[in-house]
Symmetry: C2
């Protein structure tokens, strides 16, 4: 059999900062779509798994090392890529932007965070991929406490609340949300407080990693 399909991976990486969700994009250094923005990614080599490929590409093009990564969808339409037939396995990742400094290299001229309400025009079918990823993010956050991957280690409860209102795009009742979240028993309250601006200083929380992952493994379990 003669098959000349090329296989690539792409990664939609979301981060949360300044009360909005952002996506990590790169500016393409080469044709096609040279100078245009795109989701980080690239071809899979013969000797690496798909996951290894995504991680490598992310590292190369943006300098980032991710720890939450899951498969999103495989895109295989005929003319996705103007050069050849390219099938791409898209991944979905989450990180804390504050923990990394972006540094573009290899195929990327530049790497940058874009808030999801202010996106540039994208290369290939990357707009479609991103759209699917956003849908997944919104669906996921209603039944899994993704905060662990997106917030700082220590955070006031209001940060978690803001993350949810931001991702879901609607208000949630602060008191009931708090009740429900604390009821999951995956947050540890610390003996530290932060005060930003006026108002009563907030207690800091941390996710309890063990209980968090145990809950996830059991296949969660809450509805916001």
């Amino acid at each position: 059999m003669q098959q000349s399909i090329k296989l690539s991976v792409d990664a939609v990486v979301f981060g949360y900062e300044s009360e909005t969700i952002s996506v990590l994009l790169i500016k393409r250094k080469y044709e096609p779509f040279k100078g245009k923005w795109a989701i980080p990614g690239g071809f899979v080599t013969d000797s690496e798994s798909l996951e290894e490929a995504v991680e490598r590409e992310l590292k190369e093009e943006t300098g980032i090392k991710i720890n939450y990564l899951e498969q999103l969808y495989t895109f295989g339409k005929l003319n996705r890529d103007p050069r050849n037939r390219v099938v791409s396995v898209a991944y979905f990742g989450l990180i804390k932007p504050s923990a990394f400094k972006l540094s573009a290299s290899t195929d990327a001229e530049e790497a940058q965070w874009f808030t999801i309400n202010n996106l540039p025009e994208l290369s290939f079918d990357h707009a479609e991929i991103l759209k699917l990823a956003i849908t997944r993010l919104q669906a996921k956050i209603t039944y899994e406490p993704l905060g662990f991957e997106l917030l700082d280690t220590k955070f006031p409860f209001s940060d978690l609340e803001k993350l949810y209102t931001s991702v879901l795009g609607r208000d949630i009742d602060r008191r009931n949300f708090r009740k429900k979240m604390l009821g999951l028993n995956i947050l540890d309250e610390l003996d530290e407080k932060v005060s930003k601006g006026s108002g009563r200083p907030a207690n800091l929380f941390m996710f309890n990693k063990n209980r968090y992952f145990k809950l996830k493994k059991e296949g969660i379990i809450f509805e916001i």
Copy 2:
């Protein structure tokens, strides 16, 4: 770039008959795993989309034409296939076995339904793929009324109930289940009855296609 990865598609097709869920498998005609059972599938040609490839392979190897098909997961480990590096996009399908006659050809020596509690040894990593598909089926049926794809056009309510107990592997309260299902307003009660064995003859139902797909589109749904 030199890349020699081959791309294939595989389809896990479930059917429901005689009160159990079955999977459609083929007996491989050629090496590797000649004579062993496998999930239907094969290589994607340069000029077809992934969906077209799955449909073609299913048609060739089993004679079946499917109308419910969705992407399951892409498997990309290094040594899935003893010959070369092969990455496979797995699909998940549902059909009514009664509506088709199996007829193997091309790469398949034989096509056959296996109940999921009585599976043969499988080729490649197909056991893993199947396991994931079963998990998906069980998860899906609790929030989507898959009955439409699996049952005959007209069916007694007890068939729907048995489908659920069979897939979920546990009893469900008949009265509450009926209440919930009928409450979804996607079933049309017919003026026909069937009597099988003893007991009061059951009224027949049909899924109301319009309301069924409308409900699905709205992304509803329900919890069993």
